[in-house]
Amino acid sequence: MRPFKYTRATDVAAAAKTVSTNREAAFLAGGTNLLDLMKEGVAKPSELVDISGLAFSKIRSSGNVISIGSTAKNSDTANHALIRRNFPMLSQAILAGASAQIRNMATNGGNLMQRTRCTYFYDVNMPCNKREPGSGCGAMEGINKGHAIFGWSDKCIATNPSDMSVALMALDAVVKVSGADKKQRSIAFADFHRLPGDTPEKDNTLEPGEMITSIDIPMSSAGMAANSYYLKVRDRASYAFALVSVAAAFEIKGGSVAKARVALGSVSHKPWRCDQAEKLLTGKSLKDLNDASLRAAVDAELMDAKPLEHNGYKVELARRAMVLAFKRALKSEVVA
């Protein structure tokens, strides 16, 4: 690890300024991803601006949104009464990630910003366009069991590993950011992470120096609280990244699906929103929800999947996991 300067930020604008002017500077929140990458030699910041002391650690209700502070810890977020009551699927998704110790350290902003777990990205001896643009993609012709089946490019086939983000995608969250010039913007969750295209080094649409201040979830999504589920499938029972994960949430009104939100994790460079499936499920009467109809919705979504050499299983796994997540979310509402 190269030497770096460590400073504790006291105000957002100054911190943002430092990071936007020094391209080698980075925000440090919980450190659970950044430090790991620095030890691997993947990240080499010359300066770390510790933002954990900034006043973004609150989770509160404001108007028609629940606003989740970017420096609030993952564990505090998952356990917060407002989240548990309104967005239990988010609690589940956060708790499905990492370990208790890591969740006690990790922040929400950091969680959204965490980088791919692609093993070639992590090993500096390997080619990787995301780590070193132009060096080639080690995974493309390599071992790609964990890689994307949607939205990949010939430059990068990595997946986004965040569990939390999959739930936030399904909950129609909005990411609030603040830049060096104190300019604030709101980014719809679907626009926050990006597909690799020709620039896989960019995971998201933040500008240099922009800092996430909060993640806002509309209260309208709370209508799905009773019928939501986050399912994570992995190679061991816990403390492992997903092979495939599903966030499924439904609002049931008068015996039918008034609203359906579905997202898949670990299948693409970004959390994968399943519009096709949502469309097919919305408006369905509960009594028409059975294995066949759920499966039809899922199949429509997976038609465009493009598996690679080693990850063909993900298509079938996603298919089954989605149906299972739907059933767990709908609980007694479905008879099938």
Partner: protein
């Protein structure tokens, strides 16, 4: 020396009791010292830089930046390294003796600096250029041209006429079972503090074989063995990886010599995958033939595997097929191909663990095709003597293990046909498999020292044994206390130091038998020698009650010590001695996600005398969990283009976590083995894992109807 197998008439009874670990207090307070925990003044920090190519030579090294980096006090490469005498796994490349590269991640430089951070940063700055040679790293391709193993230990073993019996057999099975490369990954990465005083070397280094490490360092540095001292009272797990000497230890000593200061060198977790050996990938073709009644007529166990390029080590997968069942016609063979990987070595249950996966799944498959209960099938083929060599068993408890286990497990409720039991989203299935591991005692010396103050006697037993979590400290204290009839609090156990009397290693399940017999003998000898000196005593008369305090005071002694060089009993070689087990697993398979949980297991073991059921049970639990990891999680993958492992970290190389493990019941069957050694102790370190993966895989078949012959059984394989 007393002929008694054990002592009698003692007030202090510890042998066979559930004594808590005597070193437990230190382990729960963080005061047990592992290698890098020793406070050593003026220590410098070393970090290894590794090769990023799998074959060829280092053609250039740019270390200028590293040498100038802050805090750096030494950069060692093959260009300036002191000349050593490579031996064994300390092959030339691994200790910087030449430019040759044998595998991806071979040690290529050592950087020493004032702090760890500085050494690590400087190590990153070294740039190597390579003259690359074609690397042999694509297993699937290489295995096609594998040749008979040149190792004499792996020559064909032929009994009867396999081909003839097999082709005549009514029921046949021909299937291929595959196990991947696995890593030991003990929780304590290999790490060393090395220091020189003149030409004498002291290393704090986790070593399963204390004297072996001393010998290896002496050879490599051209020293007399007495000039090397290895200190290793606690070892943070080893599982075979800390049995031999690997380059890292020699490099620590080399670095200390170069910078003339004590040096601390710990491998990183990522470096573990290509520094300390591995379990090779095995492709095992099994052919079994049986008659209509389920009597086995023929068995062939043909293993195709790889070695490293610098060693011919091949684990003996076929061993289990030679001795587990009574089969008149058998063939065991090995084909190997050399690969540019770190040399394969012993890993928990060497040979037997992967071998039993193949054999015990094959047995299950054949039993199923015969519509026979797999336990009944096994009982039918139970051998009355060791089929491998015709020798009588010193004791054998497979039948008893199976009987006891099936009772505990409730085997009678198991359905023979798969997919019969469902619980909500889960398919439930049960499987069984047996295992065994040879039991041996090896020569071990020990000293017992007694000191007396009034009527109070304290005893210390000293031997260069090791404790890697196996409970050596505790069982030796138990034996000494009971034999000398003293409270256990009066016993000190000094082990893990090569300046003590030479002992066997904690490898191949020889540790407990070798150490405990030596300590038992030295304590008995104490008594008989004291009795001989005591004017009142009528000579050696154990087993009558002894009072060492009285004996010492009669002989007017305040200090006494004696030593034995214990040897295995002569008759042991005429028998076949093994530990045995039966493993039962119940798996719950989520039919949709393919995630598998071993919800409960029963492991019944026959391993002679159990010195401490509590610590022994723990070792069996460990074996079961290793077996579950082998069945469901563990797999190391080489990228066939470059020969690097893509499974370098604990995030990529999965071992079981707490939630993967359900309830495990452990039981021991009483085995009184008067032949294997005086105390009748076999070992449990290895046997615990043998058969477990097969029990799990058989249970997965019973649950799902899917026979997975390629480990690990991950969700993708059930799609």
């Amino acid at each position: 020396m007393s002929e008694e197998k054990t002592v009698k008439n003692r007030k202090n009874k510890f042998i066979g009791e559930n004594v808590n670990r005597i070193d437990g207090i230190f382990k729960v307070t963080g005061t047990a010292r592992f290698a890098t925990d020793w406070p050593v003044a003026n220590v410098a920090y070393a970090v290894i830089a590794k090769a990023a190519t799998a074959a060829g030579t280092i053609s250039g090294i740019d270390s200028a930046a590293a040498e100038k980096a802050p805090g750096v006090i030494g950069v060692i490469t093959h260009k300036n390294a002191p000349k050593l005498t490579p031996a064994g796994n300390l092959s030339g490349g691994s200790v910087l003796q030449d430019a040759k590269i044998e595998f991806f991640g071979q040690h290529s430089a050592v950087v020493v600096a004032e702090t760890f951070e500085q050494a690590q940063a400087a190590a990153e700055m070294i740039k190597f250029t390579y003259a690359k040679a074609e690397a042999r790293v694509n297993f699937d391709e290489l295995i096609k041209t594998a040749q008979k193993s040149p190792s004499p230990a792996r020559a064909d073993v032929v009994r009867g006429d396999f081909e003839k019996a097999y082709s005549a057999a009514e029921h046949k099975l021909d299937a291929v079972y595959e196990t991947p490369i696995e890593h030991h990954q003990p929780m304590e990465p290999h790490s060393t503090i090395a220091m020189w005083e003149g030409d004498n070397l002291t290393i704090y280094n986790p070593s399963q074989v204390v004297m072996g490490m001393r010998g290896a360092m002496a050879t490599v540095f051209g020293l007399k063995p007495e000039q090397v001292r290895v200190i290793t009272p606690h070892i943070g797990g080893g599982f075979g990886a800390k049995g031999g000497a690997w380059g890292n230890t020699a490099l620590a000593a080399m670095a200390a010599k170069v910078v003339k200061r004590p040096v601390k060198l710990a491998l990183t977790r990522q470096q573990m995958v290509n520094s300390v050996g591995l379990r090779q990938k095995n492709v095992q073709r099994m052919r079994l033939g049986a008659d209509a009644t389920g009597k086995l007529a023929a068995i062939a166990h043909e293993t195709s595997t790889h070695t490293g390029t610098t060693s011919q080590f091949v684990e003996g997968c076929g061993d289990v097929s030679a001795m587990t069942y009574a089969v008149p016609n058998s063939l065991i063979s090995y084909k190997t191909t050399a690969m540019n990987v770190i040399s394969p070595t012993f890993v928990r249950g060497p040979g037997k663990a992967p071998g039993s996966f193949a054999l015990e799944c094959a047995i299950d498959e054949l039993a199923y095709s015969l519509k026979m209960d797999p336990i009944e099938f096994r009982l039918k083929n139970e051998p009355d003597k060791d089929p491998a060599n015709g020798r009588p068993w010193s004791s054998r408890s497979v039948v008893e293990c199976l009987r006891r286990g099936s009772e505990m497990f409730g085997w009678k409720n198991r359905k023979m046909e798969p997919r019969q039991v469902r619980n909500g989203e889960f398919l439930v299935g049960s499987g069984v498999a047996v295992g065994s591991y040879p039991a041996r005692q090896q020569g071990t010396s020990a000293i017992a020292k007694l000191t007396r103050k009034g009527t109070d006697v304290e005893a210390t037993v000293e031997l260069a044994a090791s404790d890697l979590g196996t409970g050596t400290h505790t069982i030796l204290a138990q034996i000494a206390a009971e034999t000398l009839d003293l409270p256990i609090s009066r016993i000190s156990v000094k082990i893990g130091d090569s300046s003590l009397p030479p002992a066997a290693g904690s490898v191949g399940s020889v540790g407990a038998a070798s150490f405990s017999n030596a300590v038992s003998e030295v304590c008995l000898q104490c008594i008989s020698e004291l009795q001989a000196r005591s004017p009142k005593s009528s000579g050696p008369s154990d087993p009558v009650p002894v009072n060492v305090a009285e004996l010492m005071s009669e002989a007017n002694l305040t200090e006494f010590q004696t030593r034995v060089d214990a040897r295995p009993p002569a008759q042991a070689g005429q028998y076949s001695s093994h530990s045995f087990n039966a493993n039962f697993a119940e798996v719950w398979v989520n039919e949709q996600t393919g995630m598998i949980r071993v919800n409960r297991m029963v492991a019944v073991t026959g391993a002679g005398r159990i010195l401490n059921p509590k610590t022994t049970r723990s070792q069996i639990l460990g074996g079961c969990i290793w077996g579950i990891g082998m069945a469901l999680h563990e797999e190391s993958i080489l990228d066939p283009r470059w020969g690097n492992f893509v499974t370098r970290t604990f995030a990529d190389y999965h071992i079981p976590v707490n939630l993967d493990i359900g309830t495990i019941d452990v039981a021991f069957v009483a085995e009184e083995d008067k032949i294997v050694n005086k105390l009748g102790v076999k070992g449990v370190g290895e046997v615990g894992i043998v058969g477990v993966a097969a029990a799990v895989a058989n249970a997965v078949f019973n649950a799902t109807g899917k026979r997975i012959r390629k480990l690990p059984i991950t969700p993708d394989k059930l799609m």
